[in-house]
């Protein structure tokens, strides 16, 4: 048994870290977050050149064919850099949904375009009830047309197509379709923009049933947890650096146990979230029977820890932590968006309860 990264996994992580440090430094994040969409075509083509847009998809579609653990590592690094724009929406979310539900013809058309870096996409799930429970989806498509509204749709303005989760299936709506109206929602995270998407007798093409959506959503959920881990790590790094250099009462504030012990807790939570994410990635890759539980454990823990690590990071920075110019709040904003996306800790605790309490399957697994 080996719960460390393999050499090739370490290589992927290190090269991703280097890539993001070079192409997506804080100044670039701040430039993009001030734009309407946080999307940059030049950055996208570099992501494509790295193979990131096809990371987990089959080589026959132009993907790289790597596994779920590799996706977690990439998302962790993207989170550390606070990568702005539609990478999660397009590759992780829309890509995984297409991979899980679409027919071969639809994969060739839509997923291959994502892998090749030619298309941006997103998935419209929530309605006005804002429930992550699939039972609460009400919109449905009749006679190839859809009417109604989806909310909290990430990166919809730059999507070439929108995948719509409807009551009676999974559909795709092209961005130029008639009756489609996309308008921004003003939300906390400036690096991943949210939109309302209205449909009025809008043509929608069915690409598959909702039967296999769970796995795609589990991949997206785990990837968000991985992204949160990267953000926590960056928040911890910035904060520890500050605690070493900022002096009060003639000493670095990191010398005071009231500060030092909070840093220790940030470390404990970051590492624990990372362990949970790696395990979730492995369980998804192996299609292990406890994969859904593992994903919920990771998202539950990372959702809470992403927030508390941010709380401590801001507090330790003192007045500086409350300024716009300090980066900690940018991670804090992203963490809130990612906390609620695909269910917060409360949602996932209930899911864990239904998986382990109701089924009576609390099995003491041996190594």
């Amino acid at each position: 048994m080996q719960f460390g990264l393999s050499e090739s996994q370490e290589f992927l992580r290190d090269s991703a870290r280097k890539f993001f440090a070079g192409e997506c430094p804080s100044a670039e994040v701040r430039r993009l977050m001030e734009t309407d969409t946080a999307y940059d075509a030049a950055l996208w083509s570099k992501l494509t050149d790295q193979g990131y847009t096809g990371i987990i998809f089959p080589e026959t579609l132009g993907g790289v064919g790597l596994g779920q653990v590799e996706l977690m590592l990439l998302m962790e690094e993207a989170g550390r850099a606070l990568l702005p724009g539609p990478f999660f929406s397009t590759v992780v979310l829309a890509g995984s949904v297409l991979d899980a539900v679409a027919s071969p013809a639809h994969k060739n058309k839509y997923l291959a375009a994502i892998c090749r870096g030619e298309a941006r996409a997103t998935v419209a799930i929530l309605e006005s009830g804002a429930s992550w429970n699939p039972r609460d989806v009400h919109l449905s498509v009749s006679n190839g047309k859809i009417t109604g509204e989806k909310l909290f749709v990430s990166d919809a303005a730059v999507a070439d197509f929108i995948i719509v989760i409807a009551r009676n299936g999974v559909f795709v709506v092209e961005s130029k379709a008639r009756g489609l109206n996309i308008s921004p929602m003003s939300s906390m995270d400036l690096t991943r923009k949210l939109y309302t998407v209205e449909f009025a007798e809008t043509p929608a093409e069915e690409i598959g049933t909702t039967a296999n959506l769970a796995r795609a959503f589990d991949i997206a959920t785990a990837a968000l947890a991985a992204e949160l881990v990267g953000g926590m790590q960056r928040t911890l790094d910035i904060t520890v650096e500050y605690a070493k250099t900022r002096k009060q009462f003639g000493k670095p504030i990191g010398m005071f146990q009231a500060v030092q012990h909070q840093c220790a807790d940030m470390y404990l939570e970051t590492e624990s979230a990372r362990s949970a994410v790696y395990y979730a990635g492995w369980a998804l890759e192996e299609k292990s029977p406890d994969a859904a539980t593992a994903v919920s454990i990771a998202k539950m823990y990372a959702s809470d820890a992403g927030r508390t690590v941010g709380n401590r990071g801001i507090q330790i920075h003192g007045g500086m932590g409350f300024t716009w110019e300090n980066d900690v709040h940018l991670y804090y904003r992203r963490a809130k968006g990612s906390e609620t996306a695909f269910g917060d800790a409360t949602f996932h605790r209930e899911r864990i309860a239904s998986l382990v309490i109701d089924s009576g399957s609390v099995v003491a697994k041996s190594a």
Binding site: M1, Q2, F3, G4, L5, S6, Q9, V69, V240, A243, K244, K251, P252, G254, M255, F256, Q257, Q260, H261, C263, A264, D265, Y267, L268, E271, S272, S275, A276, Y278, Y279, W282, E286, T293, A294, S296, I297, M300, Y301, T346, R349, E350, I352, A353, V356, I357, D358, V362, A364, S366, A367
Partner: protein
């Protein structure tokens, strides 16, 4: 990353399972509730039996009677032992902490003299580290040892000594040079507990029982050849013992915790709350799920730590994460049990209305010690702050 067991790990596990199937005593459940003074001979016999199969000290090198087991194999060993609810071994400090320290620092004569009897449970070992004025600041300990010819004359007091009441020998940290910096004047002595001038008193803890003892040394003569390691190098010897303390302990914990939460979930199903089973109460469900998740994360952290130690060869200060994680989780868990059980949670062993014979009231009190013993949570956070994050030392 591959969380499946390797061929070698599988064959280790299967060999152990086969041995346990043939040798695990069937009557442990009749003994486990009894006071340890009564069950101790039983535990000695169990350890002897394990060692007949070379299972008492799997982590030890083969030439000393172990199996040179890898960390993963050690983890498998403890998991299997927990899985079958095997009795503990009588000489757990000797096997887990002191034996490995003697193997690392002892002379040939010391190894020959002590190691076989640690394995056979003929000689039980205790550990004399903490003192009334030296807890977290262990290096500040004051027990003095003065060389007089070929003997050290030892005077002073130790506290929180596990197995003191039954100990034949003690790994004792003493001050041999009070004139130098506090870490530099310490020496480790191997002391015969039957020596004249050694007095052992039970220390009654807040649970009402006495797991630990106080040791009083009055002009105790210890032969100079019983110094372990070098004179005045006792800090390094003692630290090496403490490293083993964090070692593979976590491996068995998650199974023990999982057994507890399985029991608690079963209790939640039969406990009524507002006219329905507590297991259907949304708030109780939230808390049980949180606990279940954290027990899993404890396991994931442990697996990662083992893999890291296996790759780098050194146990890092990350062990402090585990210590904080399990001890604080255990306290939260016991609190959830109390919330679920309501007034029944406070009933102690022997009360006819007590649930699980008072296990939950005992656990609630006993876990307060978890964040204190084996390095307080505060000390662990200092270790993470300074040694992991590189923050300036706070003390």
């Amino acid at each position: 990353m591959d969380l499946n067991l390797t061929e070698q790990e599988l064959s280790f596990r299967d060999e152990l399972r086969a041995w346990l199937a043939a040798n695990l005593p069937k009557d442990w459940s009749e003994w486990r509730e009894k006071p340890i003074e009564e069950s101790f001979p039983y535990l000695r016999a169990w350890q002897r039996k394990l060692q007949e199969g070379r299972w008492a000290a799997v982590s030890w090198p083969k030439e000393f009677g172990g199996r040179s087991a890898t960390l993963m194999e050690q983890a498998i060993f403890w998991e299997e032992m927990a899985r079958v609810e095997a009795p503990p071994m009588a000489n757990s400090l000797g096997l887990g902490l002191i034996g490995p320290t003697i193997i690392a620092y002892g002379t040939e004569a010391q190894k020959e003299r002590f190691i076989p009897k640690i394995l056979s449970a003929e000689e039980i070992w205790c550990q004399g580290f903490s003192e009334p004025n030296a807890g977290s600041d262990l290096a500040g300990l004051q027990m003095e040892a003065v060389l007089d010819g070929h003997h050290y004359i030892v005077n002073g007091q130790k506290v929180w000594t596990s197995y003191g009441w039954v100990g034949d020998w003690c790994e004792l940290v003493v001050r041999t040079d009070p004139s130098v910096a506090k870490h530099k004047g310490l020496t480790v002595l191997l002391v015969d507990m039957k020596s004249r001038g050694v007095e052992v008193r039970p220390l009654r803890q807040m649970t009402g029982e006495s797991e630990f003892n106080e040791l009083f040394f009055r002009d105790v003569r210890v032969p100079a050849e019983n110094v372990l390691g070098k004179v005045n190098d006792g800090w390094n010897v003692a630290m090496s013992t403490l490293m083993y303390e964090r070692g593979s302990y976590g491996a068995r914990l998650h199974l023990i915790f999982k057994r507890y939460i399985t029991r608690l979930i079963a209790l939640a199903r039969i406990t009524q709350r507002n006219g329905r089973p507590a297991a259907e109460d949304p708030l109780i469900r939230q808390k049980l799920a949180q606990c279940f998740a954290e027990i899993e994360i404890m396991r994931f952290n442990q697996m990662r730590a083992f893999s890291r130690i296996t790759a780098t060869g050194v146990p890092g200060p990350e062990g402090s994460i585990q210590k904080i994680f399990w001890s604080e989780l255990n306290q939260r868990f016991q609190q959830i049990a109390q919330e679920l059980l309501g007034p029944y949670g406070q009933l102690q062993a022997g009360d006819p209305h007590a649930i699980d014979n008072g296990m939950w009231s005992y656990g609630y009190l006993r876990t307060r010690g978890n964040t204190i013993e084996a390095g307080t949570s505060e000390v662990q956070r200092n270790i993470i702050g300074h040694f992991v994050l590189g923050l300036p030392r706070s003390y």
